[in-house]
Amino acid sequence: MKKLLACTLALVMALSLAACGGKQAPEGEAPAENGDKVVRIGVFEPQTGDNGAGGKQEILGMQYANSIQPTVDIGGETYEVKLEIVDNRTSAENGPSAAAELVNRDVSIVLGSYGSGVSMAGGKVFEEAGIPAVGVTCTNPQVTADCSVYHRICFTDPFQGPALASYAYDGLGVKTAYVLGMLGSDYDQGLMYYFTEAFEALGGTVVSEEFPEGTANFVSYINNAKSAGAGAIFAPVSINYAQLIVEAADAQGFEGALLGSDTWDSNMVVESAKGKNADVFVTTFYQEGGNPEFDDGIREWINANADAKTNNGGNDMVAAVTAMGYDAYFTALEAIKAAGSTDPKAVLEALPSVSYEGICGHIEFDEVGDAKRDSAFIKTANTETGVWDFVKVQSVQ
């Protein structure tokens, strides 16, 4: 009995190895499915883990874009656009296999990921496969720095950090800032670094601390901020921690401002600030109301789709990452159109010269592959209505 089991399992393993060789052929002709021409766009996003909530919102933008523009004309022929969504689980260790899975599904171009660490982990696989990738909201400069296929449509940390720093120093008049990030998160640490650098250059003082992953109790950190005499807390952390920090700041009666990065721009954060005594400011890519047509369209789509609504956190507020996902989708279509082919190599060649007028602003890539952006939106959480209010457009000299 046991032996049988063992033999069967061994056999399965052997067969699986053999299957690797055999499986290749049918995949090569995948585009010919149903007689329709299909172009596949890979979505490399976290749906689970710390960044799961953000990743899902980003996917929503792409899915919505796909619903209003499900086809693309390449060389006079109409292709159906199919999104291939793979969960990279927020973690670098799952990055390579998730990326390989996408490559396996014959995608022409990849969108994502929310979160820089996993983007870098996947970038290597995309580079080997020669598949272009468009980062949507991964802001760490390293994503594109050492990867020939990675491009991105968002601003980067060296921009975002200083933007918030100068807003805090000049706009809010804060002289001492308390900076808090998660231990082991490259996203947090990167922004903390650039914020600190800029804030100190402006003449401010920074107190910096880190919390271990899985922390729920931020009370002592808020107390540390208070005893440091900080006028603002800058915490570029994921949505879950942002909620907890808002909660703790309120409970501890923290008087200063809470500054967040693009991750904070989520309806979940603004909702946790609702009815609390908290001044929350965030930098972001998109201000709801910036493009009413898009807003109305996606709201309608979200409301008509129960799953989408759940993924958006249970309401129809439009997150900036959703708008970015939407833009990323069209950027990808532009690149495919310009390439005139579904071949990743051709798309990769065409991508750098794409110029597209998105709802979050004009998109163009520089020589590294980063978007040329010079301004960010600053929003504040309205604690009475529970929505984001526009504050200003912040740019850095």
């Binding site: 063992a6 699986s16 670098a92 296999s97 390989a100 050492d146």
Partner: protein, 370 residues
């Protein structure tokens, strides 16, 4: 003696077939193909599972520190192999870091780019293993005196402490703090992984079948009797712990190669649990079981069962049921079934060639009985 010969032939054939299959995969498929990815990841897990089995299965020391030693190996590999030219960009927040050399480049200096690079990478792996072994020696001094579950929880704690240290900003010039290490050389084909892990696992097997391995098994079966028969418990336990950690360190370095980026985050206790469960599935006390289980586990979780997470599996489309996390849910149920009802796992404490053995014995018994 003929039995022995049969086994040797059997083993050689199996190994040759596996290697050939792997080479064929490498030759026919591009390096980013999911099959290659699965083989790479599975070999790394196989090595670490074998190293854990050496400790938990063969010496009876229930340690949960594997992730910590892998972390050491991974970081050592990354830190020592990042090309000097790329250090400024990797260590962007730490002025290019404190270490300004790279082993592959040093070796490339007098062995040529190709050979030197590979030698450098192997040397970095080795350093990772040695560091892990040293750390195990230090940790082992106080911890190995503890009994079963206390040992488990103490080693788990050590792994967590280690992780906090590696993320500490003050060590940033070496570890890059919380930021990723990347841009280091890796093998993109699967064969180097298979060969490397294969050699390491072979060494583990040699050790297990040596006089020391037998002493380990004696400690597992009965500590008191082992000590009474002249086996120095402290020394042998430490030896097993250090050797196991050495291979975990090497496994960590290979994991770094596989991932392409290094951060401390993946080396959490959940990684140790995952490997422990692989060991259990394969059979506590069977190295070939660990290897088979690693392949099965990685193959199904990374490839075969991915459909369980994305709405379609075996042609059945049920987006409501097959959503995110279903794969792992199914997996953990299988694991519980194995833990509760098939406690011996796939192989029990037998190795693959022993399958021949049992058939033989059965025949003999039947002949003797009637």
């Amino acid at each position: 003696m003929t039995m022995q010969k049969k086994k040797t032939i059997f083993t050689t054939v199996v190994l040759a077939a596996l290697l050939a299959a792997c080479v064929i995969v490498d030759l026919t498929l591009p390096s980013f193909h999911i099959a290659v990815t699965v083989i790479k990841k599975a070999t790394v897990y196989a090595l670490v599972a074998a190293s854990m089995n050496l400790l938990n299965g063969f010496t009876g020391l229930f340690s949960l520190g594997q992730a910590g030693f892998m972390l050491l190996g991974a970081y050592a590999y990354g830190v020592l192999t990042i090309p000097v030219a790329k250090r400024a960009s990797v260590y962007q927040y730490f002025d290019g870091g404190a270490i300004q050399f790279s082993l592959p480049e040093i070796f490339a200096g007098f062995l040529g780019d190709g050979v030197g690079g590979v030698v450098g990478m192997l040397a970095a792996l080795l350093v990772g293993g040695i560091l892990a072994a040293l750390m195990a020696y230090l940790i082992g001094l106080p911890v190995l005196r503890l009994k079963s579950d206390y040992l488990a929880i103490a080693t788990l704690g050590f792994a967590e402490i280690l992780r906090a240290f590696f993320q500490w900003n003050a060590l940033g010039p070496i570890t890059n703090g919380s930021n990723l290490l990347k841009s280091y050389p890796t093998f993109s084909k699967a064969t180097p992984y298979v060969v490397l892990a294969g050699v390491m696992i072979a060494v583990i097997l040699l050790l297990i079948n040596s006089t020391y391995g037998r002493a380990f098994k004696a400690i597992r079966d009965d500590e008191v009797a082992a000590e009474a028969m002249g086996i120095n418990l402290a020394r042998h336990k430490r030896l097993a712990f250090v050797i196991s950690s050495f291979f975990a360190g090497i496994g960590g370095g290979m994991m770094a190669m596989y991932m392409g980026t290094i951060a401390a985050a993946p080396f959490k206790s959940s990684l140790t649990y995952e490997i422990l469960l692989i060991v259990v599935i394969g059979g506590i006390g069977s190295i070939s079981g660990s290897v088979i289980a690693s392949f099965l586990y990685i193959f199904s979780s990374e490839w075969l069962l991915r459909g369980l997470d994305s709405g379609e599996f075996l042609g059945i489309s049920a987006p409501g049921l097959f959503k995110n996390g279903f794969r792992m849910a199914v997996f953990s149920v299988i694991i519980m079934v194995i833990v509760l009802f098939f406690r011996r796992g796939i192989m029990g404490d037998k190795e693959l060639p022993d399958l021949l053995d049992r058939r033989e014995r059965k025949h003999k018994k039947e002949a003797a009985g009637k």
